[in-house]
Symmetry: C2
């Protein structure tokens, strides 16, 4: 396997995360860099979804990925091998989320002058990452069919802060009791503006729609 | 739907959770009450697994369930309707885990003198709940096939503190790239003593083995 850069993230010293996140967002806007914060439960298919999406967008955009995990570098290596784009691993040292300062520590290890889109794959967790603004231009979450359609009832904050909910693993819909229409209704109860895009990262179904949505967001950001 | 008791849990005032957890464990031992702390990712099937397990054990043991969630009471209602045992809902007020004092607030709402086994369904999260001893006699985690076999690499603490890892959704194994032997190897890398029990809460496959394991633990605790 290829080696990837592994960054050991330090705990933030800033008490005012919101202020720090707004500052980071402004700096990134100035540089024309769109930061996407991708969140989900463990095992929802974030890395596979990113590989599919990046391979559709890399001819149009210069992309880099930051993979946050408590341990291991398997995701950063997978991304690098499958897409060829710059990919670094952030180790959170046991911490359950990233905030703006921790995100900045990762960004400092990328050559941002050449990059249009940075995707942060946050720690797999539906609770804590929702509480910390990373400075991203956009929050996306992945919900996979096997997790069930009741997740918007149980994790209200996560659904309320996301601009888009990508419903993954649609290929296994026949084997699970997952009601997509009910799920959409509950997502919109939490966040009426959230876009809902069903995909299968495994078969590629629906990924074009998510890639198109993201490309438009990035292009609007750079105007 | 039946109503269930919903407890709004307050944030702990005790700084020394470990000490508090040991004290709670001792008190429960004195009362002959076995507390099982069940953890998993969101949507791994904790509630369905509990229903299947409780229905196998309720003739042998007096059981109660505490369902912890950030919001909603759907799980506590499902347990009560499907098993008939006492079931209460704990709302964590946005908090991502339960500690010993929060667990005690739940236990105060159960009539413990009549109970052998209390099952705490912790907040769906593979990170934070692992960091806080609840005072349980035993920690169990549920890992479901769709989440992938690499989870022990990414969430080391959770796997290292669990006495048993129940691998759920074995019925959908043919549709996922999940290697049970590799998973067992990585679980045992984190925790050589962990029991691994594959089940399908949907079909009932393997649930007898988990119920037998739990019954033996409870009986040993009461000796």
């Amino acid at each position: 396997m290829e080696a990837v850069k592994v960054i050991e993230i330090k705990k933030s010293v800033f008490a005012e995360n919101e202020q720090d996140a707004n500052q980071l967002r402004k700096e990134l806007k100035g540089k024309g860099v769109f930061l996407l914060n991708l969140m989900s439960s463990p095992g929802s298919g974030k890395t596979t979804t990113l590989i599919q999406t990046i391979n559709r967008l890399k001819e149009h955009l210069n992309i880099a990925v930051m993979e946050a995990d408590i341990d291991s570098d398997v995701d950063a290596i997978r991304i690098k091998e499958a897409t060829g784009i710059p990919s670094i691993q952030l180790h959170t040292g046991g911490m359950c989320h990233l905030d703006a300062e921790m995100t900045r520590q990762g960004l400092d290890n990328l050559e941002l002058q050449n990059i249009d889109l940075v995707i942060l794959e946050n720690v797999g967790n539906l609770v804590c990452p929702a509480e910390f603004d990373t400075g991203a231009a956009c929050n996306a979450m992945l919900l996979s069919v096997p997790e069930g359609h009741d997740k918007p009832l149980k994790y209200p904050l996560m659904f309320s802060i996301c601009d888009v909910v990508v419903v993954n693993k649609m290929d296994v819909l026949p084997y699970f009791d997952f009601d997509l229409e009910q799920c959409k209704e509950w997502i919109h109860m939490r966040n009426p503006k959230a876009e809902v895009i069903p995909i299968s990262a495994k078969t590629g179904e629906g990924v074009d729609a998510f890639a198109a949505w993201l490309l438009q967001k990035v292009n609007n950001w750079k105007l």
